[in-house]
């Protein structure tokens, strides 16, 4: 139907203008390999466009976009044989591991690209729920918004964010400054 297609096209353009770069970062959080990442990103864009036919404004465009994107990515993980065989852990387990990964941080100047690479590696070892939380947190979303997208309570999202901050501080502190706060 042309009317529905126009509505989907308009919403899609609006969503890409507002959240396009965030969606690319999100896709990279699930697939680091450039080819696979591009495939997933296309899958997300297509799912988003198809979903807009049913957009009824019951939630904000941002929440809608992130839900579709994360659910598409979660579905992608569940389908992927490579991902299925990978052991994924929770933020709590990651926190318990403590400073294992921080051992590498003794160099005084870590290139930003290297930091990002390690951040992606950390994100990709997380289970889908915690991966969603950390990716949404990195996009600057607060606990209430993260709760709305993921479906967990805002209190629980706040606890998760607290853990994320602690893990990031532990693992990405600058060389030489190893004091725990």
């Amino acid at each position: 139907m042309p009317g529905t297609q126009n509505k989907s096209d308009d919403l899609y353009n609006e969503a890409v203008a507002a959240h396009g770069p965030a969606l690319s970062r999100l896709a990279r959080g699930y697939e680091f390999d450039p080819e696979d990442c591009r495939d997933l990103l296309q899958e997300i864009h297509l799912a988003m466009w198809r979903s807009f036919a049913g957009f009824d404004g019951r939630c904000s465009l941002r929440t809608w976009v992130y839900r579709v994107a994360h659910n598409t990515a979660a579905s992608h993980i569940l389908r992927s044989r490579r991902m299925k065989s990978k052991t994924m852990i929770s933020l709590e387990e990651l926190e318990e591991q403590g400073g294992i990964a921080a051992k590498d941080d003794t160099s005084h100047s870590i290139e930003q690209s290297e930091v990002l690479e390690r951040l992606f590696a950390l994100i990709q070892c997380l289970n889908p729920l915690d991966r969603q939380v950390i990716l949404l947190y990195l996009e600057g979303m607060d606990a209430a918004s993260i709760g709305e997208v993921t479906g967990i309570s805002s209190g629980y999202a706040a606890t998760k964010i607290h853990r994320v901050k602690a893990i990031l501080a532990e693992r990405f502190r600058k060389g030489g400054n190893h004091d725990k706060q």
Binding site: S24, S51, V115, E139, G140, K165
Partner: protein
């Protein structure tokens, strides 16, 4: 460095990335959508082809063999293959086109997908293995009957018993292996569901 300072720096670094942002044109989106639908269509065709091959092979046996047991076994195997194809059509064994992406929160969606996959694996014996058991069982008995009908001078009972035993054991082992692998995979999925429930219900 405080947790907040460290996180803020990372947040800035995260957002400063210049990822390849894509925007698909309306035509590209429609083309991609049609391509996805074609992929689903051909996936279904491939799944039905399997059933068609079984139906053709056992249809040939139905015509070729004259005994009741072999004909009945072949007919039931064809019915089993058609039942499996119908089940695949109704449920879909692999969700290529996932729906409900927007109506559910991420936790709800992820849990629903896990439960769907677990249940599909646990019910494999019911919709994928069992439908073939009566047909293949009768067919095997029909083959045995046909061998035993030969003149006694041509028969080597030891060999017949060995052939029947080996064929029966091979079928049973294949079924048992498929069932065991599926149960193992379902158990892994259940662990994920339990962990998810623990994490989401503990604080909610």
């Amino acid at each position: 460095m405080t947790n907040n300072n460290s996180s803020d720096e990372l947040l800035n670094l995260w957002k400063s990335q210049k990822p390849q942002s894509i925007s698909l044109s309306a035509k590209e989106l429609r083309d991609a959508s049609s391509k996805l639908e074609r992929r689903v269509y051909w996936r279904n065709i491939r799944e039905y082809m399997g059933a068609a091959i079984v139906a053709i092979a056992f249809g040939f046996y139905m015509v070729k063999f004259q005994t009741v047991l072999l004909r009945l076994g072949s007919g039931l195997t064809i019915a089993g293959a058609l039942f499996v194809a119908f089940h695949l059509f109704r449920k879909g064994s692999t969700a290529v086109m996932t729906t409900d992406l927007e109506s559910k929160s991420c936790v709800e969606f992820y849990r629903t997908e896990l439960v769907r996959q677990r249940d599909l694996l646990l019910s494999v014996w019911k919709w994928y293995l069992m439908p073939f058991v009566p047909g293949l069982g009768l067919f095997l008995l029909g083959m045995l009957q046909m061998v035993l009908r030969q003149p006694a001078s041509h028969l080597h009972y030891g060999m017949v018993a060995l052939w029947f035993g080996a064929t029966f054991a091979m079928c049973a082992a294949t079924f048992a292996l498929v069932e065991w692998l599926n149960r193992r995979a379902a158990k892994e999925i259940q662990k994920k569901i339990d962990t998810l429930d623990q994490h989401t219900q503990a604080i909610d």
